[in-house]
Symmetry: C2
Subunit: 399 residues, 2 copies
């Protein structure tokens, strides 16, 4: 018996007609002999609609009650999908988190899955039922309803695949993962296989293909995850351990950009690790997510420090910095764009960074900041250079 856990996102179940079509597609899969567990998100914009009601009550609605409220969206879609499957003559059953004992820990709105009683699911699969699970939610040890955070249904699906020792398929409204965002880069190539590490770097850089936590979980338990379109051919992308990098492999798998950051620089601050640590400590306390950081070599015991933060946090962050430095010592650059290239191949291919910098230099693209990991190079460049950078790097590395 081969078990497959399929996850359908909100846009795949946004109408009754779509739910019926998904039901038919699941039945086709069952006819091929697979046991199918389905995880569903809430229909279309229904989570946003629920959130909107909560915001009408309070700017900061109680988190326990908010989780209870938001959890209903997936219960609606799971009940309807199960109903649809049954209406086509196949047996199905929907479960909420209480029913499969999907236990979570941690904060409301961003809980982590602790465990799930897979026996209940297996019993139902063995009775030839299609099991439909409300994604995105669980129950904590106090018996409160919890949610896993936006995109959490991906994590529900991977967790179930782990416990059921099954395959995982994430169905969405894109037909796979591409070497770049098709809205920005003409004719990117679809990636057939991508390593967990690569997708994690791409996801955090704004590719937003899958919930990062779900990829981390898949990586931890080596679960192969298929990402593709809800009702299409199986020609999407597999997220998996990519061991067999042959010599011809491209060093770069994909590139991603993000326009949502701003660069801040502080001029001539005293070179005192305590002060610098204190500044970043205070920024962290405000839940402002600092990404790239660069610091110049001290000259006369003075250094310049630059870093990027999400644009929306600029006002708060500047206010905080004024406790340490004067206004004219703070430089703000709102014109930056983060441009990243990611590839497992960088581990074995040297000089990738050099090739990138050389291309940028030849074409007058000014690199304002750089950070790297073993498989990623991120440059802060001007927003106006973004498309040119994608074009040049895309051509150079055959993306």
């Amino acid at each position: 018996m081969s078990i497959v856990v399929q996850k359908y996102g909100g846009s795949s179940v946004s109408s009754i007609d779509k739910i019926k079509n998904i039901a038919k597609s699941i039945i086709e899969r069952v006819k091929k002999g697979d046991k199918v567990v389905v995880v569903v998100s809430a229909m279309g914009d229904s989570t946003d609609d629920l959130l909107k009601m909560a915001k009408q009550i309070s700017d900061n609605p109680d988190k326990r009650e908010l989780d209870s409220l938001l959890s209903t969206g997936e219960i609606v879609s799971s009940s309807l999908l199960s109903m649809a499957i049954k209406s086509f003559g196949y047996d199905a059953i929907s479960f909420n988190s209480f029913q499969i004992q999907l236990k979570t820990e941690g904060l409301h709105g961003k809980s982590l899955i602790e465990d799930v009683n897979e026996k209940i699911i297996l019993d139902n699969l063995n009775q030839n039922k299609i099991v439909v699970i409300a994604g995105f939610q669980g129950v904590n040890n106090k018996g409160d309803v919890t949610t896993l955070g936006r995109g959490g249904s991906d994590t529900t699906a991977v967790a179930l695949a782990v416990k059921l020792n099954g395959e995982c398929e994430i169905y969405t409204d894109v037909d796979g993962i591409y070497t770049a965002d098709p809205r920005e880069f003409k004719n990117p190539k679809k990636i057939e296989k991508i390593d967990y590490e690569e997708i994690l770097e791409l996801a955090s850089l704004g590719a937003r293909v899958m919930h990062s936590r779900s990829v981390e979980l898949a990586q931890k338990y080596k679960i192969k995850v298929y990402v593709g379109r809800s009702l299409g051919e199986m020609n999407g992308t597999y997220i998996m351990e990519v061991k067999d990098m042959n010599l011809e492999s491209k060093p770069i798998t994909g590139m991603a950009t993000s326009d949502e950051d701003v660069a801040l620089s502080i001029k001539n601050i005293n070179y005192d690790e305590n002060i610098i640590a204190s500044i970043f400590g205070e920024i962290a306390k405000q839940n402002i997510n600092v990404d790239m950081i660069s610091q110049t070599t001290p000259i006369d015991e003075k250094v310049n420090v630059s870093f990027t933060i999400p644009s929306e946090d600029l006002i708060d962050c500047k206010k905080l910095l004024l406790n340490y430095v004067k206004e004219d010592e703070i430089l703000v650059d709102e014109s930056i764009c983060k441009f990243s290239v990611v590839g497992l191949g960088m581990k074995s291919t040297s000089g990738v960074a050099a090739r990138v910098f050389e291309i940028f230099d030849k074409n007058n693209i000014k690199v304002k900041m750089v950070t790297t990991s073993e498989i990623r190079i991120t440059c802060a460049i001007n927003k106006e250079d973004k498309l040119k950078a994608l074009e040049l790097i895309g051509r150079e590395f055959n993306l």
Copy 2:
């Protein structure tokens, strides 16, 4: 510590503003020193909206999945109400059926409450929390979500009042129970106290003030139930055991009418109890609810049998009768209206029926069929005589 269980119907929580107002009203009650448990229905038409989606999937949606679907409406309103109370600075907590172990038995869509873990509720009340419960639902012994049937939140509230040894208040969009429907009878009087028996007779006759099952439950455990407007003065109606009927009490407490039935008569069937029993047995098997039945004395071993059924079942019922009798032996009367007067006082006041019949006779209101109980007289009259009957009987008995 005095515990009060308040139930708010769908129209009382149909918008965020209404939910906020209900929250304020509950807080006022808590300030007076009461411990408050709140049972809520789904917001406005949301149950109908969910049902509509299910019907788009199937004319006969799977009942287990339908219950799971419909249960979400009350979870939404209970979460929002709890959120609203907390936003006003008072502590509150919402619970679904899994959380308070509200156990049910019986069929999906019309389950009966078996038990509830009141300890969880009491613990939270003792922590000075306002406890908000999703009405209308429970969990059966298989762990499936079940619903109690339309109006089931009333039953949830009474059941909780029983277990918590508290008072029960049903808030709705009418300000109490009247001697007749104000849409039909000008200036009916509000009833201050009404006996369980009387409201049961009125409810089944179409007064639709409260879910009958909830009244039966209240009667069984002698729970005093207040019915009134959500945000008004406490001048509604108490449903309770009315023992102290004094000599001046009116023999009739209220009157009700129903236009939703049709009368069927079968002429000259053989006077054979087997045939007659068999006919009614078959009708019952089709879940057609026969109400009034009258049979003439046998003449030449032939009898006429008349009975009323809901109009919507007429086609099915006629088809069934044709297995026993010929078409021209079946008479259909779609012009009838059921007119009922109800009153505990009838037990002690003789001649009430005679007074009713005399008034009808004097005023040319033809009584086509009659059934009575100890505290009720129901006559089938012509629809066109309905308002006249209400007017005459209302005046005669000072309603």
